[in-house]
Amino acid sequence: MIISEIANGVEGCFIKSNKFKTSSISVNMFIPADEKAVSAYSLLYLILTDSTKDYPDYTSLNKALKNLYNASLFGGVQKFGDMRMVKFGISVLDDNFTLSGEKISNMAADLLLGAIFNPLLENSKFKQEVFENSKRILIDTINAQINEKRGYAISKTENAMFENEPASIQNNGTVKTVESLTNEDIVEAHKTLLQNSFVRINVISQNEPKAVFERFKEYFNLLERKVEKKNLTTFHKTAGEIKHLEEKMNVTQGKLCLGFTLKTGETRQEVANSAVFVDIFGGGPYSKLFTNVREKQSLCYYCAARLNSKKGAFIVDSGILEENKDKAYNGILEQLKEIQNGNLSEEEVNSSKIALVDSLGSYNDQTATLDSWYAVSTFNDGETIEDYANLIKNVTVDDVIAVANSVKLDTVYFLGKSKEENND
């Protein structure tokens, strides 16, 4: 990949690939955000991708995208430790494959530029109707989190665990903050985002994106940019006392989530060490939680751990019968104890290492994983997928045991049946 400086705080990254039938451009903007800003950026994303100056309503914009062989706008606001990454991207069929030889990739790039820099404005504000509609959609999206209980439970656990830290703010913020936003707030958020975010633009294509980068340069150079490239995330520290939360709902299955902290450290090698630990604990089917809590104890269909390396934390989640709550809780902690006591074979560590390295090997074959990797790699000194795979290969049994011994339980969340359900 080739990195170039496009404008002040704007990097271009060209990932040359002849594997795909499409090319894609993604603009990744990194910015600190409080709850109001998280909601504002989420709303801004919906407004900017609803319509543009050139395509003044969503029907005409969607028709234009479909006429460009189903070009798709993608992105949104994602957590990046305590910061947020606001992504605007477009993916389009390569010119070589259009049915009548139409050249569509430049048109797709124009459409993305139009969405980001030339929104549909009326009297220096977003069109009120678009603003209101986007607000409605965002509120529906936030409320709909409850529809899928597994994601809901994890989100609630993060919420409690990282209390008073920006990482606790859920995706899109809350209904209350969205409701409080005014049209002017979003105009301001648009300005702040363009002027103050650090920007990484990824292009995955067979062809040199020189002209595309030039266009972005023109737009960014018109702005008064004041940017600092810095990841403001801090590691989460346990308060000492374990937080316990329980919620009741009309559900059949209970959801148990355990939030832990661990020493993931400052170096990428330490991140790799903790990634191997979390994988052995609750990653693949060879993991301690899968082989014991699921297979031996038959307590659940899933019991898995996922790492949040930026926050120095990980969450274990499982769907269980309510009466098995204590069994599952104890089962999970017992497996942690096993690793802490060094009951871990070289073979187990190897299983995890080769699975992680094998999976990294396929990152180059998918536009989404490539894009995600190279959006954030700028904060890891340009680390490539291969660099990270080599760090994984270095991890030893002792490294994993050392990580396990740094683990502390922080938060326990349980979603159980409401009382009337229990009486049935």
Binding site: N18, K19, F20, K21, T22, Y58, T59, N62, K63, K66, N67, Y69, N70, L93, F97, L99, N133, R136, I137, D140, T141, N143, A144, Q145, I146, N147, E148, K149, R150, M249, N250, V251, T252, Q253, G284, P285, Y286, R294, E295, S298, L299, C300, Y301, Y302, G319, I320, L321, S351, I354, A355, V357, D358, S359, L360, G361, S362, N364, D365, Q366, T367
Partner: protein, 422 residues
């Protein structure tokens, strides 16, 4: 023996090898990829609850047994399949749907070793009463997880409303009660019937050599006497079973699924009928359509709205899903638009745009080894020609669309399923 299908427009080719057992092996070589993806599948899913072999006695099995068998096949007398894949680093999995069961892995190293494991464990069942029993807790929790999933419930309730007899109305995993009846003998009965190579297929894509894949198949596939499977599907009336079904769950907004049931004069639809159906749904329900605009602007739907064509052996329907505070009003608007389309047809401009979208989706399928394999599975399963849809879309006419539209939508024969908010 080996047939090569080429598509010069998109510069792709697929090789198909017919093994002596009757099983077909589909391979798409992608040397520019680092990874590969493989599926070993069988034409056996949750709807296959009543069958006979070679004209013999009819067997009826408990609901959810195909899925149960999928779970149990990973076990063996010695090292189970997951433990074997743990040595190679592949990511292995399996899924069961209404009409098929597929075992799969993806990897970026050790393809040959992984492929050998896949072929071996799928061909070597090992069940004991004890290991079968052990699975009940795990699958019981999988069933309960789906019980709490509102999107799954709204779909299954719709299928139950549309179909009175057809086993499509049964949940893929069965129920906690039905799986309690499953034992090792029943699993062996199902295995010996549906896992005959003659009823199976293999699809592989990625950084692999086709000839090597065919050679490995020759070496490792154990041919048994082919069996003739007869599936007994109950007779299904054309009319829907219920027009409306409602339940209440903890959701943020009511979910709805509206289904239009089609006649099934033949048990399966042709590829052309399926392609036309997809294109019609894009024209009528896409986010660039007039219907979408009216529903969205009047706040009756949000961006979760969508439509899919749902069909398989003995069932076919168009399903429109979304979230709305007023699902019945959504249905009224849909019916009004359908009446207009049935009367006046669909604009040529809209058809052309939908064809472009369809074409692009097919081409972009070649962006990933997994998608390529999934598309080859469709060909293998339905016994259609590779790349056939590319020829079909070139020749679609407005008349084809108008004719198909009338077959798809009989407004008096539809159901609505609603998951209400508590």
């Amino acid at each position: 023996m080996i047939k090569t299908y080429k598509n010069s427009l998109i510069n792709e080719q697929v090789k198909v090898y017919k093994h002596k057992s009757g099983l077909e092996v589909y391979v798409c070589e992608k040397p520019e990829f680092s990874s590969s993806f493989a599926i070993f599948g069988t034409r056996y899913g949750s709807i296959d609850t009543k069958f006979s072999v070679n004209g013999g006695k009819i067997t009826e099995v408990p609901e959810g047994i195909a899925h149960y068998l999928e779970h149990k096949l990973f076990e063996s007398e010695e090292l189970d399949a997951f433990a074997r894949f743990a040595k190679t680093g592949a990511s292995a999995n399996a899924f069961t749907s209404f009409d098929r069961t597929c075992y799969l892995f993806s990897c970026s190293t050790n393809f040959e070793e992984n492929f050998k494991i896949l072929l071996d464990f799928v061909q070597h069942p090992y069940f004991t009463e004890e290991t079968v029993r052990k699975e009940q807790g795990i699958i019981g929790q999988e069933i309960q997880m789906y019980d709490d999933s509102a999107p799954w419930q709204v779909l299954m309730n719709l299928l139950g409303a549309l179909y009175k007899e057809h086993p499509i109305r049964i949940d893929i995993a069965g129920t906690v009660e039905s799986i309690a009846k499953i034992n090792a003998d029943l699993l062996y009965d199902c295995y010996n019937t549906f896992y005959n190579l003659n009823n199976m297929f293999i699809c592989v894509a990625g950084n692999i050599d086709a000839q090597n894949v065919f050679d490995l198949c020759d070496k490792l596939l154990q041919t048994k006497e082919p069996v003739e499977i007869q599936r007994f599907m109950p007779k299904e009336e054309n009319q829907v079973e219920k027009e409306k079904v409602e339940v209440t769950l903890p959701v943020s907004k009511p979910l709805f699924a509206i289904g239009f049931k089609e006649k099934c004069e033949n048990p399966t639809k042709t590829l052309k009928e399926k392609v036309l159906s997809e294109i019609i749904l894009k024209c009528i329900f896409g986010n660039d359509s007039l219907l979408y605009k009216e529903l969205f602007d009047s706040k009756l739907i949000n961006d979760s709205f969508g439509a899919e064509y749902f069909n398989g052996y003995g069932y076919a329907c168009s399903i429109i899903e979304g979230e709305s505070d007023y699902p019945e009003k959504v249905k009224e608007v849909i019916n009004r638009y359908l009446n207009t389309y049935l009367e006046k047809g669909i604009l040529e401009e809209d058809i052309k745009r939908a064809v472009k979208v369809y074409y692009s989706e097919e081409v972009c399928g070649f962006n990933s080894a997994e998608n390529i394999v999934m598309n080859m599975v469709e060909c293998a399963f339905n016994k259609t020609e590779v790349f056939e849809e590319f020829d079909i879309i070139k020749n679609i006419t407005q008349e084809d669309v108008a004719k198909r539209l009338k077959e798809m939508f009989d407004i008096s024969n539809s159901s609505i399923s609603i998951v209400n908010k508590e």
